[in-house]
Amino acid sequence: MVEVKLVGLGKRYGPVTAVHKVDLTVRDKEYVTILGPSGCGKTTLIRMIAGIIEPTEGKVFIDGKDMTGVPIEDRYIGYVFQNIALFPHLTVQDNVSYGPRARDMPREDQMRISKRFLDMVKLLDKMGMLPGELCGGEQQKASLARALSSGSKLLLLDEPLSALDSRVRVDLRYELRRLAKELGLTTIHVTHDQEEAQSVSDRIVLMRAGTVVETGTPEELYTRPKRIFTANFIGETNLLDGWVLEIKDGVSVIELRNGGKVKVNQADRPVGDAVVISVRPEFMFPADEGMRATVTSITYMGTYWRVTANTEDEEEVGFDTATLDENLLTIGKEVYLAVNPKTAVLYPRPNDGVQEAIKLE
């Protein structure tokens, strides 16, 4: 049983607030990602959990125990660093057995444990090498084995994949989740890569400028984000200004600033209210009627085409199409774009504008 609870946790550096009163509970065996743009305080947060940074306010509880004043080595955590940080003067095996050694386990156990975890990350054959002789992916696997070898049931991953090549990054991502689930670990994973967060997590905590914006499963955050910031940061989206024209049977009709009209299956804003709707590119498509736009570019993306078009008020929108009908879609051609009402999300228009709401800091 490992449960992590943060209560009003905050960190200030002089006048700068890095993390502002975060409350969060990570349940036993849960894989939680802390996601956010760089500088949002996510690394500060995980470092406070590990005890590397002392919080200026609030508390960290691990298994119900207050960790205030408990030094790093007594928190029994596994921690994987962004810069890998394998001890360069020790062999891979000595690196992995460092934890058992530091905790004064008998020598046979040191060997057995280090071999077990090296086997788990498939590095048994390289255990005699120095870290510098491994490639990036192998290094991070070794450092993962090292973190696990302490026997901790709490795994903290601080941007573990950021320093790796893109292909290795994707492979290792699944490896991380598999190991965490196999060993029944409670995992907190910090990343700025929303795709990575979506593919590994049970739950995502989205942060911005030191505060938690929204928490939810990857699916919730993608399909029904509660904030404009979330809609924009996770995946891609078109954000369009408009007004509620009428509401009928739980469906709002929105008149857009660009002249088009779209329907949204949501009715929590009163008629006449200024709103913003979020539509993902894959849920917007050419139709006989809707908003009028001129195609400006067509890009082949592998499994689909991404088309961008300018609406009448000179706003750029993007949509995806699985088949490219060249009679319908060529650069310079006018199209009418419709929106799937089930997938669009409606927000009240923020007072200081959409750009302010989606700003990263």
């Binding site: 030094p71 790093i72 080595e73 921690y79 660093f81 810069n83 360069p88 000595d94 530091a102 905790r103």
Partner: protein
């Protein structure tokens, strides 16, 4: 070429004396047991002192380096400056100041009653003195490396359950070797070659006996050489021994520290954990600071309290000012030569790291740093007076001697800085159409300007404070530190104190200039 001919060749020229004049050495040294005894005692004292000083420096310097690099606290910049302070004090002044503070001094000196006034053994006094001026070097070179070691390693160790002390010992320390080598060699060499301060300290204390170190022997004998030409052979012999032993030691130290594997892997979780908590770390930090104050700062600046408390004596500034001016001119000329010839060599070494020749040059540059300056000076004097290639004016000889041991300071500094500059900056300038010279002047030069100036000021203050080499090359020369030695030998303690203070102030102004320049570079 300049480097080889003017620096390396004269430095090791004296070695040839062993071959050409072996007979004289045999006659005056080997067949004279009293003389041989004196020499061997002095040299072994030199090496013992250097060894002990280095060990003390490591033990006291490591915690201090740790505090400076890894801790954040108010007044850190202040502490940082404090450590550099003794560097600004010429060793001649340091020797006088420390001796008054530590040693039992003669009545005529009238040391203030609150001086320690406890040390009677010259051996111990010299150790204490050498710690005073080598400690800052040790702290500086240790912290320079410590800064470069990623703290994540230690943090990683601690997340794995190692206490702060275990992590520092098993992870950071083993990564530290290179820094340790530099620190040890610097301290060892400085202690081994120190002449002026040592002579002054010995002259200041009551009853030094006939205690001597290798360099002070050279200084004394060179002085008497005119009246007693038989001393030439012993002089050469001492110089040769010092040069060979110090070079040998350099090689041995490098090999030992890099190759020998200390059993650092073991972890003793319980006791180390105990020592990582509570009173122990605080006590350790406190002791480190206390050490700095009592054994480094107080002795360095005790001279001020001495002069303030002693009864004033009228002081004829004339001769001292002359000597100070003489020192200044020499230091200035030396610095100019160092810069104009050192920077090109530094560039060459730094840019052609892969080649054989630069590698050899890189090692050779260090030679004058290791060789005791008195031996170096003597060797140089013999070389130039024997060659008849250049007219042997005193000033010219002194300048050449000073260039020999300050030149490496400039080359080291600049080569280090050039290596840290990413070559792609210059390459970018080249792709934008700059000629190589332009690329250097507009791109590289502004980036390494600070280190050139730093090297220059180091060379300047070093030249200003040097006694051993000056005396060894021209016995009759009167530079400021030599003048102070004379004052003390004639028991004019008060005037010597005043002269020291003037010298300190002058050096300190140079030091401030260094700070100003390096800070300016950082803020840009």
């Amino acid at each position: 070429m300049f480097f080889l001919f003017f620096v390396i060749l004269p430095t090791i020229y004296i070695l040839s004396y062993a071959i050409t004049d072996w007979g004289a050495i045999e006659q005056h040294v080997l067949d004279d047991p009293a003389m041989l005894d004196l020499i061997l005692n002095a040299i072994s004292a030199s090496f013992q002192i250097a060894g002990i000083v280095t060990v003390i420096d490591i033990l006291a310097g490591l915690p201090m380096a740790w505090i400076l690099v890894r801790k954040e606290f108010r007044g850190k910049r202040f502490l940082d400056t404090l450590i550099d302070m003794p560097l600004a004090v010429p060793t001649a002044a340091l020797g006088f100041s420390s001796a008054i503070f530590f040693a039992v001094t003669p009545e005529s000196l009238a040391a203030p009653s609150f001086a320690l006034n406890a040390v009677t053994s010259p051996y111990l006094l010299i150790i204490l003195l050498h710690v005073v001026f080598s400690y800052p070097y040790m702290v500086r070179s240790l912290s320079a490396i410590l800064v470069q070691i990623d703290q994540t390693y230690e943090t990683a160790g601690r997340t794995l359950g190692a206490s702060a002390l275990s992590a520092a010992r098993t992870i950071t320390l083993p990564l530290f070797r290179a820094g340790l080598v530099t620190g040890i060699i610097l301290c060892f060499a400085r202690s081994l070659s120190e002449t002026g301060g040592t002579m002054i300290a010995l002259a200041t204390m009551a009853n030094p006996g006939n205690f001597a170190t290798g360099p002070t022997l050279i200084g004394d004998w060179k002085h008497d050489l005119d009246s007693n030409p038989d001393l030439a052979a012993p002089l050469a012999f001492v110089s040769i021994l010092l040069i060979i032993l110090s070079l040998l030691l350099l090689v041995v130290l490098k090999i030992v520290i890099m190759k020998v594997h200390l059993p650092m892997g073991r972890i003793w979780p319980r006791p180390e954990r105990l020592f990582s908590r509570g009173w122990f770390p605080k006590t350790k930090d406190g002791l480190a600071v206390l050490f700095l104050v009592v054994f480094v700062l107080l002795p360095s600046f005790f001279i001020f309290t001495y002069v303030a408390s002693a009864t004033p004596v009228s002081f004829d500034y004339g001769p001292f000012m002359d000597s100070l001016f003489y020192s200044f001119v020499i230091a200035a000329v030396v610095t100019v030569i160092d810069i104009s010839l050192g920077v090109p060599l530094a560039l060459y070494i730094a840019k052609n790291r892969k080649g054989k020749l630069p590698e050899v040059l890189d090692v050779l540059v260090n030679v004058p740093l290791i060789v005791p300056t008195a031996a170096l000076g003597y060797s140089l004097g013999v070389f130039w007076t024997g060659q008849n290639i250049i007219p042997t004016f005193d000033a010219l000889l002194i300048i050449l001697a000073h260039v020999a041991f300050t030149y490496p300071l400039v080359v080291r500094n600049v080569a280090g800085a050039v290596e840290e500059v990413d070559p792609s900056y210059e390459e970018t300038a080249r792709t934008l159409g700059a000629k190589p010279v332009q690329a250097f002047r507009r791109v590289l030069f502004p980036m390494i300007k600070g280190s050139i100036l730093a090297g220059a000021i180091m060379a300047f203050t070093r030249s200003l404070g040097e006694t051993g080499a000056t005396q060894a090359v021209v016995a009759s020369a009167v530079t400021a530190p030599v003048y102070i030695v004379k004052l003390i030998k004639s028991e004019a303690f008060y005037t010597a104190g005043l002269a020291c203070i003037v010298l300190i102030i002058v050096s300190y102004v140079a030091m401030l200039a260094l700070r100003y320049v390096t800070n300016g570079r950082r803020s840009r």
